[in-house]
Structure formats: C-alpha cells, structure tokens
C-alpha cells in the first residue's frame, strides 16, 4: 500500500521539477491608449513589440493591459496598496515621479553610452534620490496656440508678436489682445477658456496666471518641497487674470463647470481665440482634417509673462517605470523590455504627434519631417522647448497641487475668495499634504 502511494508522489515531484524548469518569467505591462498607430487599436502596436520580444526571450511572457485615461491612475494606486502593482508602467513623469520618489520603482543603471545619448533635461527630470528612477521616452512642449483667423476678424492680428524674435510677449500685450477680441463683438467668440471642472491641464492656467508673474510654485529646502504659491507675485498675477475673467467677452463664461474637453471642443469649433492647453492636433490642423479646419490658421507662442519675467512653455514627458515586486528576475527582464521597447518601437514615438525624442539617437517623427518647412512646426520643434520652465511636476504632491488650484480658483471666480485668500488656502492645503508626505 505504501509503495502504491509512493509512486504517484515521486511522479508528482518529477512533474513539478519539470514545470519549474520550464517556468516563464511572467511580466505585467500597463499602458495608456496614447499610442495611435494608423489602422491599429490601442495596445495592438505594443502587442506586436511584445510578441517580438517574447520570440527573442522565450522564457518571458508579458501580459499587456491598456488602462483608460479616466481612472487609470486610480487603478495603479489601488494596485500598489494591494501589492499587485504591474511590473512595467508607462505614464507621464509627473504621475510616475511620485512612485519613483517613494522608492516603489527600481532605478535604471545607465551605461555611459546611454547616459550620453539622453538629452540632459530628460535625465534631470527622471532622477530621484540621485538615481534614474524612470526611463523617459518622449517629450512635448506646450505653449499658447492662437487662431490668426479670429485675430484677423477681430482686427487684433497686429497685437500678436508674430515678427518678434522667438515671438516673446508680455501679459499686458496678451490682455490687450483678449480685450480687442472681446470688444470686436464676433458672435460667440471668446478670448480664452479657463476650465475648472476638472484638474486636467491645470498647469496651463498656473503657468499663465501665476508663474508668468514670476511666482514659483515650490522651493526645495533640505531636499524637501514647500509650496510658496501665495507669494505677492502670484497674488498680482491672479488678480490681473481675475480682472480679465470678469471683463465680458475675454473668457468663456462658467469656468467652474468647464472641462479641458470643453476647451478642445470650443477651440476646434473656432470660437476661442487662444488656447493654453496642449497643442491639440496641431499637425492635423495643418493638414486640415476633421479636428481643426484648414482655415483656422494656427500660430504658436510661448506663454506670455510680466515684463522682466521670461516667457514659459510646459514640457511634458512620458516615461517607463519598473516596479519593485521583490523578484530580481522580473526586474531584470522588465528593464530589458524597456530598453528593447525604446530601441525597437519606433512607431510608438512617431504616433505621438506632439512629442519629440528625448534621446539624441532617436529619429524625429515622420510627421514632423513631412512638415519640416512649415514655420509653425519649425517653431514648435526648435524654439518652443527653449522656454521650458519648471512648474513643479517633480513635487510628490503635484497632482493634489493641481486639484487644489482647481478648487480654490472656483472660489476666486465665484467671488467667495479674494486672490490672496485663494492662494493662501492653496498653499496651506499643499503644505499640509507635503508635511504628511515627509512625516511618513
């Protein structure tokens, strides 16, 4: 009887050893539907690259999941809390930075060649606690997009700094432009949309209203951030823009309930003269596709600033992160996959119409090459990034800082708070969050 029991036990042991020998390294890769390669659905292009990688490394199996933009970050945070985080994640650096800073990601050890290949700003943005916590993939510059058609119809074209070197301008000039558009009486046309219905793209308003007046969002003391957004410069900036907001026709009414989608919609409909959001479909605009009509006649500028303060642009970077899931084998292959992806997934960068490479060896996307003689594309690629300003994205509570701005601005535009009260409340909230963060 004992022998009879022993035989299946031995078989089971042999079988399990065999299984272990053949076992694959299973990786989980989460991405967003940002890669839009023509003819492919979100995630399909990444899957092709994954299949190639798995062919070269048969011991690895990668499971891909495409997260929705709305709610994706919540899923990531919940996965961290429940210790089921993915192995690889790609997202914007200002969201990923928090994870890197908290030590949840495994740093990349760059070779000398890799280090030299990255543009210095990319290394700087992805370095946390003196280590390369993220692997940047692309960067996009965001400035002020203006409809020259509306400017012309409003008789305000000469107020735009089109002939000035690098097209720099002041907030006074921008205000004069908005007032001119408002007074022209063009039906349903407004100068700018301030949207406070969601926190997406809040950095645009912060840059335009506060940093344009010389305000700094944060200072770093002893390696710790402090929010100083209630400075006199910031208050001056907010007061200036609240005055413009209350001037009929300058801003779209009802900012409290407008979202960044409203901004895109109204801008694409041609009823907004200037948009400080990302440059939505600028290349599509040049092509005259369904998003923006060909006669929209876009022109790019940096964000205006008060005289004496340099103009600004938002640099937004995408990066890979590899989570520390207590498995060295997984980490090794995950980092190998990141390097493989960046090297082989050329269409990935090319598909991101408003992104530029962060490595010197990367090719400039085809779409730019097609329009390389267009002055706006030239400006976008060569001039706008020069205005890149630090707008606090690496602060560990950056997301909450944007959300706080959205809420206090609602108080300011409804008249419940003065500019000073609003910014004091914002600084208090953000500093409380920072205190809690460092206390841990």
């Amino acid at each position: 009887m004992k022998k009879l029991l022993l035989i299946p036990l031995i078989c089971l042991l042999v079988f399990s050893f065999t299984i272990t020998g053949l076992a694959k390294v299973n990786l989980v890769y989460w991405t967003y539907p940002s890669c839009k390669v023509e003819g492919l659905l979100p995630g399909e292009y990444e899957q092709i690259v994954i299949d190639q990688f798995e062919k070269e490394y048969p011991e690895v199996k990668i499971e891909l999941q495409v997260l929705p933009y709305d709610g994706g970050i919540k899923k990531v945070e919940l996965s961290i809390l429940s210790q089921t985080s993915p192995d690889i994640l790609i997202d914007n650096t200002f969201r990923m930075g928090k994870f890197a800073d908290a030590g949840l990601l495994v740093p990349f050890e760059l070779t000398e060649d890799e280090r030299n290949d990255f543009f210095p700003f990319a290394i700087e943005a992805c370095t946390f606690n003196n280590e390369m916590g993220l692997w940047p993939t692309a960067v996009s510059a965001q400035g002020m997009t203006v409809s020259k058609r509306i400017a012309k119809e409003a008789g305000a074209l000469d107020l735009l700094p089109l002939d000035r070197p690098d097209r720099t301008w002041t907030t006074e000039e921008y205000g004069a432009f908005l007032r001119k558009v408002a007074s022209a009486g063009l039906p349903e046309v407004r100068g700018y949309i301030l949207w406070l219905g969601d926190a997406n793209g809040m950095q645009t308003h912060i840059m335009l209203m506060l940093q344009a007046f010389g305000a700094e969002p944060f200072i770093k003391e002893d390696g710790k951030y402090r929010c100083i957004i209630n400075s006199p410069e910031a208050i001056e900036g907010l007061e200036y823009f609240l005055e413009l907001y209350n001037t009929p026709g300058c801003f779209m009414e009802g900012a409290e309930n407008l979202s960044c989608f409203d901004n895109s919609n109204y801008f694409n409909l041609g009823t907004i003269a200037t948009s400080g959001a990302s440059i939505p479909g600028i290349l599509k605009g040049l092509e005259g596709t369904d998003q923006i009509s060909a006669d929209y006649d876009l022109a790019l500028f940096p964000f205006p600033s008060k005289k004496g303060v340099s103009n600004g642009a938002l640099l937004s970077m995408t990066a890979f992160g590899v989570f520390d899931n207590d498995d060295q084998e997984k980490v090794k292959y995950a980092q190998m996959f990141v390097r493989y992806f960046v090297k082989n997934a050329k269409d990935f960068l090319h598909s991101q119409a408003d992104s530029s490479p962060v490595m010197k060896s990367s090719e400039i996307p085809e779409v730019y090459q097609k329009y390389k003689d267009n002055p706006e594309v030239q400006y976008y690629l060569n001039v706008l990034p020069k205005f890149g300003k630090d707008y606090g994205t690496m602060c560990p509570v950056y997301q909450q800082y944007k959300e706080a701005f959205r809420v206090v601005m609602q108080g300011a535009v409804t008249g419940e708070l003065t500019a000073k009260e609003a910014l004091d409340e914002m600084a208090r909230k953000v500093n409380k969050l920072l205190d809690e963060y460092y206390e841990e």
């Binding site: 945070e77 219905g197 969601d198 309930n257 206090v408 108080g411 409804t414 841990e440």
Partner: protein
C-alpha cells in the same frame, strides 16, 4: 455545555444552513469583511507610503475640517430637497395613473421608469446640454421670459438645486411603480363607502390612500434617504463637487479623499461616519413611521 448545544443545533439544522450558505458565504466575504476592514483602516494612517495605527486622529481631523462640515450640510440639502419631493410627486403621479385605463397606465409607467434603466452617463450628458449656457433649453426659456442666461451648474446659487432636480427625475421610476402596485391592493369597498359618505377626491387620497400605502412610503423613505446620502455619480459627472464645494456630498468627498488625495484611512473614517448616520436615520424612520396597516 453551551458550545455543545450550539453544535447540536447546527447538526440538527445542517440542511437549513446548507441552503443559507450560497448567500451567507458571499455576504461574509464581500460585505462583512470589507466593512470590518474599513473600520480597521479608519484608525490607521493609510496612504501609498504608510500604514500605521493613529487611533481616533482621522475622526478628529475630519470633524475639524470645514469642508467635511460643508459636505454634511450639502448632503442634508440633497436629502431634504429630493426625498420628500420624490415621495410627494410619486404619490401624485400614481394617484393619477391609477385612474386611467391600463394601457395608458402601462405606457406612462414605462416612460417614467425609463430613467431608472438608462445609463447615468447618458442622463448626465443630456442634462448638461439642457443646462448649457449657450444652447440649453432652460436658458432658451429664460430668454423667452426676458431674462438673461444663467450658468446653471456654475452659479453658486443654482448648482445645487439643478442637481437636486436631476436626482428627482432619475429617482421617480421605482416609487411610482411601487405606489401603483400598493394602491391597486387597496380594497375598492373602502373608496365606495367613503364616496357614499360624500368624500371628494382629495379626501379619498388623504384619508384612505395615503394611510394605507404607509408601508410602501416607509420603505421608499428609507431606500431614497440611503440612496441620496450616497449621491456621488451625478455630482461627479455634472459639477465635480463645485463651484467651490457647493455640491460636494459626503460620498463625493470620500472618493476625493481616497483617490484624489490618497488618504485611504481618512476616506474609510468618512465611510464609517456615513454608515453610522444612515443607520441612525433608518432606525429613526422605522421608529416614527412604522405602524401596522390593516385593511
């Protein structure tokens, strides 16, 4: 001895327990366990970076937070502004529908019930357009009446009433169905007797119908109060809690604390407070409104 009794009891009724198991096991895993965990987390500082016991600090912080107090007031306004109206309008509609022929009644019930089975996102988008500043029908009517346009969802005075109106609209379906069902069960002889005594329609409704549908009213009162206390999605989709916390409900604040600010412990504490408030109100409603009804 007691233990032995319990075991004997279980053994004796094991078939009963077996039949109860398909419900009680998932109930324990998916409801009791999360509630237990939420209670536990409410005493912890629980964020992405830390998990440590802090006693009642979360509760102390919550009650000293003016935004939380504002959210309680707003939630109460939601309940006060919607639940009585839902009940009142549902009784009126049901009393009217009970008198029409069955085909028309079925059609009307279908129309009224439609919002209950329609995606809340579709409803929210439709109402957003109705409230639209430039092209909304409400502002069109305002224009016809000679008034200027209003930013219904952005204005600090109109945002909350605008949401309450939507809440009433989407909540009417179930009460109307239940009331019609309850009214159908009232013996006709009661109405006939009252009519012989000279009662008019209003007296019939007030003195016969309403008292006899009290169990349904109690049920709806509890269900609607609980539902309204948990109002989240309509706020999330329509106003995002704004303008400046004017429409921030407890549930919205709870989600915002958890996923906006990463304060999972604080959010759990808010959840516990919400649970206590809702349970207390339900007990009170039972105490004051539940009386046996005999035909």
């Amino acid at each position: 001895m007691k233990k032995n009794n319990l075991i004997t009891q279980i053994k004796k009724n094991k078939v009963c327990y077996l039949f109860l198991a398909p419900y009680t096991i998932p109930f324990t895993i998916f409801l009791c366990y999360p509630i237990f965990q939420a209670v536990r987390y409410s005493f912890y500082r629980f964020t992405i970076k830390s998990f440590r016991f802090i006693g009642f600090k979360n509760f102390i912080d919550i009650f000293s937070d003016p935004i939380f107090r504002k959210a309680i007031v707003t939630t109460c306004w939601f309940v006060i502004g919607s639940v009585p109206f839902i009940i009142f309008i549902a009784i009126l509609i049901s009393a009217l529908l009970i008198k029409v022929n069955s085909k028309l009644r079925t059609l009307a019930m279908g129309i009224i019930y439609l919002p209950a089975v329609t995606s809340i996102i579709t409803i929210a988008l439709t109402w957003k357009w109705l409230y639209n500043y430039r092209n909304g029908i409400f502002n069109y009517i305002m224009g016809l009446l000679g008034y200027s346009n209003i930013n219904w969802l952005s204005n600090k005075h109109t945002a909350l009433p605008s949401l309450i109106l939507i809440l009433i609209y989407i909540s009417l379906g179930v009460p109307v169905i239940l009331y019609i069902s309850a009214m159908t069960n009232i013996p006709k002889s009661l109405y006939d007797a009252a009519k012989i005594d000279g009662a008019n329609e209003w007296q019939l409704l007030w003195n016969i119908t309403i008292p006899l549908i009290r169990p349904t009213t109690l049920y709806l009162l509890i269900i609607e109060t609980i539902g309204t206390f948990q109002t989240f999605i309509i706020v999330y989709l329509m106003t995002g809690g704004g303008p400046y916390y004017r429409t921030t409900t407890l549930s919205y604040l709870l989600i915002d604390e958890a996923f906006g600010y990463g304060h999972y412990g604080v959010a759990s504490s808010m959840g516990i407070i919400l649970m206590i408030v809702i349970s207390s109100l339900t007990i009170m409603q039972f105490k004051f409104f539940s009386k046996d009804v005999e035909y």
